[in-house]
Structures are given as C-alpha cells and as structure tokens.
Subunit: 192 residues, 2 copies
C-alpha cells in the first residue's frame, strides 16, 4: 500500500526534462502495462504513436499551435488571452523540451474513446512515474490535421487523437499543485 501512495505523490505534471532519451524498451514496457487499463466492454480501442525525434516533435507543436490559433481566430474555439500570447510565441514548444511524445489515438466510431484513452493515459502516467520518468498530458498538442504529419504518425483517417503525453527524465519533481479535499456531495448509508 505504502508504495502505491508514494507513487501517487510522485506522479506530477512534468514540463522540464533532462536532455536524455528514453530507451524504446522502457516505452514499450510502459505501453505494455497500459494494455491492463480497463476499457468499456474490454474493447481496448487505444493505439499509440511514439515520437522520439525532436524535429518531428517541433513540427507537431507548430502544426497544433497554428490550428489552435486559426480555430480561435475563426471563433470555433475560445482561448484565453494568456494562451493566445503563448501560442503566438515562435519559440514556445507546446511539448516543452520533452524528448518523447506518445499520442494516444483510437477509432472515431468508439463512443467511449475519450474515457478509454484517459484510462490508458492514467496507466501510462503512473507507469512512467513508477520508473522514475515524468509525463504531462499536453492537450495543446492534439490538433494535428496535416495529412502528411498524420500519415507520418501512422494515424488512419478513421482514428482521432485523444491524448498527447510527453515523457522524459524529469529535471526535478515539483511540489504537488494544490488540491482541494474530495468534494463529496452525499453519503447515503443503510437505514438501521
């Protein structure tokens, strides 16, 4: 029990990484663990694209930033001004300096895909922390539409991206961000 509690404390959102690659064998182990995540009707819809190439990561960041800014300009989405400034900064990489990005994707036809992918993401983030690695789910990096980039990631037209997870050796484990107590609306116990 202690160990799992420690792991929960250790898993933080990491956005600053050492300049050090994550061996593919470790990434494969983490993805193997992630297959144990539950999914609706044990449907296991998630697929993964692993990007350990800084040039490709930069191209993916630029593509996602451009699409977010375009959607914002066309009023399809609303971004707060802080995000707009950040996304307009040429030097800002949405994936920070991570040496690896794992895209969790799955069939558009699966109604529970968001939830199934989030469960797998949780296993990936905890599995990485258990191995001394750091992760962060970077939603700003999900907007990849360029057909060449999608083909490079191996994502079929029938699939959509749910979660880009950055992965690497953390420079430091930051303190936990503040959490409020569990918001328990009601406890209904047996009438006695």
């Amino acid at each position: 029990m202690m160990i799992f509690s420690e792991l929960l404390q250790k898993r933080r959102a990491i956005r600053d990484f050492e300049n050090k690659e994550v061996p593919l064998a470790i990434i494969q182990d983490i993805l193997q663990d992630a297959t144990l995540a539950p999914s609706a009707s044990n449907n296991q819809p998630c697929r993964f694209a692993v990007v350990s190439c800084r040039k490709t990561i930069k191209a993916l960041s630029d593509e996602s930033k451009a699409n977010l800014l375009r959607d914002h300009a066309e009023k399809k989405i609303h971004l707060n001004p802080g995000y707009v400034n950040l996304l307009q900064d040429e030097n800002f990489n949405v994936f920070y300096n991570a040496p690896c990005v794992i895209y969790i994707v799955g069939p558009k036809s699966v109604g529970s895909l968001d939830v199934d992918a989030a469960l797998a993401a949780s296993y990936i983030m905890l599995g990485a922390a258990a191995r001394g690695l750091g992760t962060c789910w970077v939603a700003l990096g999900a907007n990849i539409r360029d057909p060449r980039l999608r083909a490079e990631l191996g994502i079929p037209d029938t699939c959509r991206i749910v979660a880009p997870i950055i992965l690497g050796h953390p420079k430091a484990i930051p303190a936990a961000s503040e959490r409020h107590a569990p918001d328990i609306l009601r406890v209904i116990t047996e009438a006695r």
Copy 2:
C-alpha cells in the same frame, strides 16, 4: 516498481462481492487519493456521491435500466439484444451485489469532464485494489434522471454523471481478461 506492477495485475473488474460493508473511512481515503489524479488545467471538476444503502442501490439500478430500455425503444440509443434481455430481467441489478456505488459527477459546462472523471476513476479503481477491494465501472448504471433520486444523490442540475463505480470486498480475483499487445502505430526516432 514491483509493487505497482503487481497492483496493475491485481486490479480486475470485480462483479461478485462478499456480503460485507466497506467502512466509510476507507472510502474517504480512496477519494482523498483520487484528488491527486491529474485534471485539465488542474481544474479538479469531479464530485462524488457515495451510496452504501442496498435499497437505494436497487432503486438506482431500476431507474437506470428503465431509462436505457426507454431510450432503446425510442431508438435514441442502440443496445445489443443480449443487453436488452438482461435489462428486462427484473432480478438483474446492474450493480451486481455490490455493497457500495460511488458516482463520479461534474459540471456539464466542463469540456474535459469525461476525461477528468476517467482519470479520477482510474485512481479510485487502483486505490481500491491497493486496499484489497474490488471495483468495476458500470456504465449501465449512469442513466439517473428521476429528480428525486438525483436530489437524494445531491447532484445539482448543473452536473452530470460520468462514472458509477461499484466497490466492495471481492469474492475472488478473476483471471485477467484477455489483452492484445499494445497497438503501436509508429515509432519515430531521431534521424542519425
């Protein structure tokens, strides 16, 4: 590391429970752990309703079954024939014989609610397994519309149910359901 791997192996979908209550203090500990789950922009939108009353659990099961069958009859959803038969069976309780159901709910206005709730659900399911307890996410139990039942659960009109999680002492830990190898679409490494 070993311990976390063991935990992943131990967390199974449990649908058969001992006739034994789960102490509220343990449920509170599990929900406390769940506050450590990541959420989009650390927004922490999840709220919880804890039902440890068999009569209420039965009423929630009946309500969800009736709504699912009505939606199916009105062609708003499609259920496969096996599920229709099961839901029509008066003796079938969607929550099986679980002594406790935790509803994870959150504001309808939060775009990332499904994903945030799934991450919290994952922490609850692993946290329960770490304490020797069993869980299962029972999507069939989520369709609660009766205003009296929603009020009993303390769910405001602004909120919706994402995940009903059953919780109890497992009669047995079943073998892992089959998993396919991780479906890795592509690995992109640094050009050297």
